[in-house]
């Protein structure tokens, strides 16, 4: 087990190096010059040339890459071309809103989806199953931003219960924090509820056909205990996998929800960085995401050991 852990940690290094190289090259080869974006509408070719020189963009690609890698080796992700703020600081400012939104979304999604999936599996083929799966199709189909606007109209503008937009940091109090995240997390969780409910239903339904379920029932155990203790527990591996992937997707894929609710998270930061061609910031964010994805996958693999004792590394 420790050997596996060490192996996996070491395996992240080549992944990150490859990601760094690809991102660096793609940004330089893609159209769009950060200097042109910086000087603005009235700027001239001469202004652009001056800014390019100041940013080191006229140096050869190997020189630029080497400079970046040298800084990286010292734990320095560089400085935003536009804001002159360290990339680590900018990412640091945005982690809390994104993690909060992702965590709350996941809690809502799991709390609703797993029971629904188990119920659907329990009544497999019945009206409850069909209704729940119909709901899950709806969940997949309604874009988060549409649901977001509907929730804002209802809860914020009509009933005036919750704010339209923004994020309040935890340091300002849990009440405010929660208040700003209720609507976005509901809007965002619908698709995850649909996804997790479907996977839970399929996994539990399959588990319920196994011999040990028949044995458990023959022993006279209550149906609820059979369903949860034997059915759900044995179906946990694919469910946890989907939840894990969901976490990874949530951290990087909440752009639309963040935009609709004006949450200053990593998704918005990524889009801003890409649209302004802020190379150091884009590189830093993508490396950060790559690291998060690798770590989440590692955690998922480790969770298998807990969930299924037959699995050994």
């Amino acid at each position: 087990m420790p050997a596996f852990f060490l192996r996996r940690i070491l395996a992240t290094l080549p992944v990150l190096i490859v990601v760094a190289l690809i991102v660096f090259l793609m940004l330089r080869l893609a159209p769009g010059d950060p200097a042109a974006a910086i000087v603005g509408n009235s700027g001239t070719s001469e202004d652009i040339a001056q800014v390019r020189t100041a940013l080191g963009l006229n140096d050869s690609l190997p020189v630029q890459f080497l400079r970046w890698v040298q800084a990286l080796a010292q734990g320095n992700l560089g400085e935003s071309f536009f804001m002159k703020i360290p990339v680590t600081e900018l990412i640091g400012q945005r982690i809390e809103p994104t993690l909060s939104l992702a965590a709350l979304t996941l809690v809502v999604a799991v709390a609703i989806a797993v029971p629904l999936g188990v119920l659907a599996a329990w009544r497999h083929g019945g009206w409850l199953d069909r209704a729940l799966m119909g709901f899950s199709v709806l969940g997949f189909s309604v874009p988060a931003f549409v649901l977001g606007y509907v929730l804002i109209w209802l809860f914020s503008l009509h009933w005036q219960l919750l704010p339209v937009q923004g994020y309040s940091r935890l340091e300002n109090g849990v009440g405010l924090w929660l208040r700003h995240l209720i609507l976005p997390s509901i809007a965002l969780s619908i698709i995850y509820i649909a996804l997790i409910a479907r996977v839970t239903r399929a996994s539990v339904a399959e588990a319920m056909t196994e011999d040990y379920i028949r044995t458990a029932r023959a022993k006279g155990i209550s149906e609820a205990r059979v369903l949860i203790r034997h059915g759900l527990a044995n179906a946990a591996v694919p469910i946890v996998t989907v939840i894990g992937i969901g976490v990874a997707l949530l951290i990087g894929g909440v752009v639309v929800t963040e935009t609709v609710f004006a949450i200053p998270g990593l998704g918005q930061l990524t889009v801003d960085a890409v649209l302004s061609r802020d190379f150091p910031l884009i590189q830093g964010i993508i490396l950060f995401f790559a690291l998060i994805y690798v770590l989440i996958n590692l955690l998922i693999d480790l969770s298998y050991i807990v969930l299924d004792p037959r699995i050994r590394y």
């Binding site: 159209p31 769009g32 010059d33 950060p34 042109a36 974006a37 910086i38 000087v39 603005g40 509408n41 009235s42 700027g43 001239t44 070719s45 001469e46 202004d47 652009i48 001056q50 800014v51 020189t53 100041a54 935003s80 536009f82 804001m83 002159k84 703020i85 900018l90 400012q93 945005r94 606007y149 804002i152 914020s156 503008l157 005036q160 219960l161 919750l162 704010p163 339209v164 937009q165 923004g166 994020y167 309040s168 300002n172 109090g173 009440g175 405010l176 929660l178 208040r179 209720i182 935009t259 609709v260 609710f261 004006a262 200053p264 918005q268 930061l269 801003d272 649209l275 302004s276 061609r277």
Partner: protein
């Protein structure tokens, strides 16, 4: 029974959270929360010509001169000034009581170094310093300028409202090389920038500069007394237009600096909202690449101008008739300079004339590449309409869609369109950019040294130089009219029309907005 109890508990919990949070989020009466024109990223006002950086500059810096509401230049940091009749020697005296945010007095040495740094990047500043023989600070309050030849635009240059106004910084900050961004935001303006609360993409905070001494005159434009009636201004960054409007209606923000056209009708109809027009109309322009065929032939550029239908173009982009008007002049319509002739250009389509010109010019039917910034909602509805108009006028059009950063990169390319260059693109400006021919960056006829499009037009450059040297307003007006005719003669660029940008505020809560050529936020009051 259990279910009922659970439901009741859940409802009580939600009510508890919302009521507790409501109490905590009460909007303090002396904090003005507003959505600015765009997200603030670059803090150095000479590093970019972005409007939002300019607006940030007006918050924290002061200027030597300002433009009042009537378009007249008035002293701002300057107390008195004088020049000889030829305009070769100028003496400016700073007013008493000017201090930077760190408590240090503003001196003429700060002014001289700030102007030197500004002039390294700003086009008009470069022209002024090219004609300057000497600029000196003989004592702490006096600045002397001596010109080699007459320069009639000293006041207009020092009071330039946009896009890079000559803001005054402490000498230690202005000593920063012009090719390096400043890292110290100390100014002497009415607000202090809270660097420790700067969260780009989220919130930008300013607090009142307690030691600021406003002028005695009433605030007018970028001139007059800059009084601060709130303790704190928060620029809240909300990107989505619908969310901006929702947040304003819900009272979460007090002011929306630029109302998105798609939200105009809804906000106009809302009794809780008041729509204001503190900033004059802006304009949109079509830019033509004269460096490569077919527009290296001015007749073909004129033909493109003849296809324009300003009404159709502006309607498509601005959606609502309240938000635009046709204006064939290159200057803001209604201004003195705009009264001049626009020659053949009427802003209405003249397809047959265009076709005739194309025939005379020997247009070979090669596709003209029109750049379409499809991600930029303030511009992306123009190109499809323009493409159709050009086709009706006899052009073959290749409209290429890209994001705005790609467009601003591509417009710097002098290559042929098939090798990554371009023929046409559209962009927008504030009235402060177009009010004076020497303020307007695209007004160049110096070929490859000029703005994108690289028009070579010696006569235009000559007229600009005469305008620059003249101190006689009547002569200047005449020259401005001649410049307009020359712009249409060569087809340097073509105006598409004017747009009215509205500012939306919570009715009865926000008042006192100053009418100015650019967005300024002093004198604003917020009622509890």
């Amino acid at each position: 029974m259990k279910i009922r109890l659970l439901r009741l508990t859940a409802l009580l919990a939600l009510a508890g959270v919302t009521s507790l949070a409501s109490a905590q989020s009460a909007n303090p009466a002396n904090v003005l929360r507003m959505v600015p024109q765009a997200d603030l990223k670059v803090l150095d006002p000479i590093w970019t010509t972005a409007f939002v950086t300019r607006d940030h500059g007006y918050m924290i810096y002061d200027t030597l001169f300002g433009f009042n509401e009537q378009g007249e230049v008035k002293p701002q940091m300057v107390d008195t000034y004088e020049s000889d009749p030829e305009g070769l020697n100028w003496t400016l005296k700073l007013r008493d009581g000017l201090v930077f945010h760190d408590g240090q007095p503003v001196t003429s040495a700060d002014v001289v170094q700030s102007l030197r740094r500004w002039a390294q990047r700003d086009g008009l500043g470069q022209k002024m310093f090219a004609m300057l023989d000497n600029i000196e600070a003989p004592d702490a309050r006096t600045i002397r300028l001596h010109f080699k030849q007459p320069f009639g635009m000293v006041l207009e240059a020092l009071g330039k409202p946009s896009s890079s106004p000559p803001f005054i910084m402490p000498k230690r900050v202005a000593d920063t090389p012009a090719n390096e961004q400043i890292s110290d935001t100390t100014g002497s303006g009415p607000y202090v920038f809270k660097a420790d609360e700067f969260r780009p993409g989220e919130k930008i905070v300013y607090v009142k500069h307690d030691k600021y001494v406003p002028r005695d005159e009433p605030a007018s434009g970028t001139a007059g007394g800059k009084h601060v009636h709130v303790d704190r201004v928060e620029w809240v960054i909300i990107k989505d237009a619908q969310t901006q409007a929702n947040a304003l209606v819900n009272g979460e923000i007090d002011m929306l600096s630029w109302v998105p056209p798609e939200q105009y009708a809804a906000l106009k109809a809302n009794p809780k909202i008041e729509l204001l027009t503190p900033v004059p109309k802006g304009s949109y322009t079509l830019h033509i690449n004269h460096h490569v065929p077919p527009f290296d032939n001015p007749k073909i550029a004129q033909a493109a101008a003849l296809t324009l239908n300003q009404e159709a173009l502006m309607r498509a982009q601005m959606i609502n008739k309240d938000l635009y008007n046709a204006c064939p002049s290159i200057y803001p319509c209604g201004s003195a300079y705009a009264a001049g002739s626009t020659a053949y250009f009427t802003g209405k389509p003249q397809f047959e004339k265009a076709k005739q010109l194309l025939k005379e010019a020997g247009y070979d039917g090669r596709p003209v590449v029109l750049l379409n910034p499809s991600d930029f909602t303030l511009l992306n509805k123009f190109p499809p309409v323009l493409a159709q108009l050009l086709k009706q006028g006899g052009f073959t059009v290749d409209m290429q869609s890209m994001d705005w950063p790609s467009l601003v990169t591509r417009r710097a390319s002098k290559e042929l369109p098939e090798k990554g260059g371009w023929n046409l693109f559209i962009t927008g400006w504030g009235a402060s950019d177009t009010m004076n021919p020497l303020y307007f960056a695209p007004m160049t006829g110096n070929g490859e040294k000029g703005w994108f499009g690289w028009t070579t037009d010696d006569k235009l450059e000559q007229l600009k130089n005469e305008f620059l040297a003249s101190m006689d307003e009547n002569k200047r007006t005449d020259l401005a009219h001649q410049i307009q005719l020359q712009v249409f003669e060569t087809g340097v660029y073509v105006p598409l029309g004017e747009s009215q940008n509205y500012t939306a505020v919570r009715k009865g809560v926000v008042s006192g907005l100053v009418n100015a050529p650019v967005s300024v936020f002093w004198n604003v009051k917020k009622q509890p």
